[in-house]
Amino acid sequence: MSVAIIGVGHSRFGARKDVNVPELAWEAIKPAMQSANVEQKDIDFMVVGTAGLWSSEAAVPPLLYEYGMFEDVGSMRVEAACATGNAAIRVGYTAIESGEADAVLVVGLEKMQESPNPTVIELIGRFGSYFWEFENFGLTFPGYYALHATAYMAKYGATEEDFAKVAVKNHHYGAKNPKAQFQREISLEQAINSPYVAWPFKLFDCSPITDGSAAVILASEEKVKEWGIEEKIWILSQGVGTGTANLSRRESFTSLKSASYAAEVAYRKAGIDIDAPYRQIDGADVHDCFTAAEIIAYEDLRFAKRGEGVELIREEQTYIGGRIPVNVDGGLKAKGHPIGATGVSQAVEAFKQLLNKAENGRQIDVKNGRYLAHNVGGTGHYTYVTIYGLEKR
């Protein structure tokens, strides 16, 4: 059973002190339902991806059920750290694929700014291995990825300036995205001169602390036909990988094994040539929680050979018009990273890009009709690679 995205919604990302948790979610749910032309009674399962901890409400699916006046619907809360959004899509996708559901509402949601920044820094640091990484060594999230950045620099000769170029690109596109947290361009100098957060990462290498929501309506092929849906994209495949809790239990710090595995699974299932996947994909959203993570993602996704990911950014090959446009919605870096919403936001972006609905200056050329989303949770603990297409597999 093929599964389609038939409607999408996306809140403005940023510091959303103007709304509470269900109000923020509704900003995405309402347009998702309206664009899919579905009502509450049409939804037979509801998945809510939210990591929580920093925000007050814990029973989020019931809260949205109540606020949105749903009835007789199954629901589930999903958590996979920063890959929570794609994990939520996974639940909806497999529910429909297996025939258990026909129409699923997937919501990704995070209201991180209900807690002060230091508390959020404390809580995210605990997303590694609690006892062996956080309790005694105080790793922070920038720190976990900085360990990868240092290893990449040492192995392949990348520089802090190379990393800054990723931030410059993602802010360039974030400036064109009306939903982005930072809708402004930055210069290379600004990025390089920002203060250190976790060496070699500076402030502009890091994604921000964000409130936001995104929602998609998934439907079975049958429902797509029955409802006569014209605007849709299909989930062609999804690869899911898992990594060790501790970084010290991994062989390499210049790659995320969970990501290269997830990519391989997704490519094979979608019938994409794993040696040059960028020839069959028109664009990608990758998990640039930190600048170096985007470069490592280029390699894990085989957009470049090992050690050559940095060349892609130096040569501007991931801008529109290059080998493969990456994060032309601003990425986590400029669009913002509301943990649970990020993976669903990537799906919304795939929908917009493939259907030529992206804003001026950030619409990719759709030639193959395929878009990729790469969503990493934790320190490489979970990776979801999802491939979306205009035509079903």
Partner: protein
């Protein structure tokens, strides 16, 4: 946060509710009256040898008596042999630095410490260890020789650290 708390305290008296206005957006916020302190109680019953070793300056790991797999962090169980017949072994003290970072923006629970360096090293027996790196992070690079030492933390308890080997 402190500003918001103070404003909320004033507003309880003057307005009747613990509310405050967010400075940037001007939006009205309820400032939670309920505090939560989290402190976990974590069982180390099955790895207490590790802590005994640390007191003697040794870094211990578990090794499966059947298949020889070495586990660090130490594990009680060998999932390959589906067994828990383990030896405690002392890891090689010397190794090579894999990577490092300096944590400038620290979690509030580490506020008592100056920026600290976290490193990962591969010991000579192949086991990798994450720990704080002692000394100037600018003077060491991945690939250089390091050793493991145990010392007391500022907070008073023993912990292992990675130390550059001179020369």
């Amino acid at each position: 946060m402190e500003d918001l708390r103070r404003a909320a305290e004033t507003n309880i008296r003057e307005y009747g509710f613990p509310v405050a206005i967010d400075e940037k957006s001007g939006a009205l916020q309820w400032v939670d009256m309920r505090d939560l302190t989290v402190k976990y109680i974590i069982s180390i019953e099955n790895i207490q040898n590790f802590f005994e070793g640390l007191k003697e300056g040794k870094l211990l790991a578990t090794k499966c008596r059947k298949c020889g797999e070495v586990f660090f962090p130490p594990q009680k169980d060998c999932p390959r042999c589906m067994d828990e017949d383990m030896d405690w072994i002392e890891l090689k003290n010397e190794g090579t630095l894999d990577t490092l970072t300096v944590i400038f923006v620290r979690p509030p629970s580490f506020a008592a410490y100056d920026p600290y360096t976290v490193a990962i090293a591969t010991l000579e027996d192949g086991v990798k260890v994450t720990a704080w790196l002692k000394g100037d992070p600018k003077k060491i690079k991945p690939g250089q020789k390091v050793k493991i030492e145990v010392s007391r933390r500022k907070e008073g308890y023993f912990m292992y650290e990675i130390v550059p080997v001179e020369g």
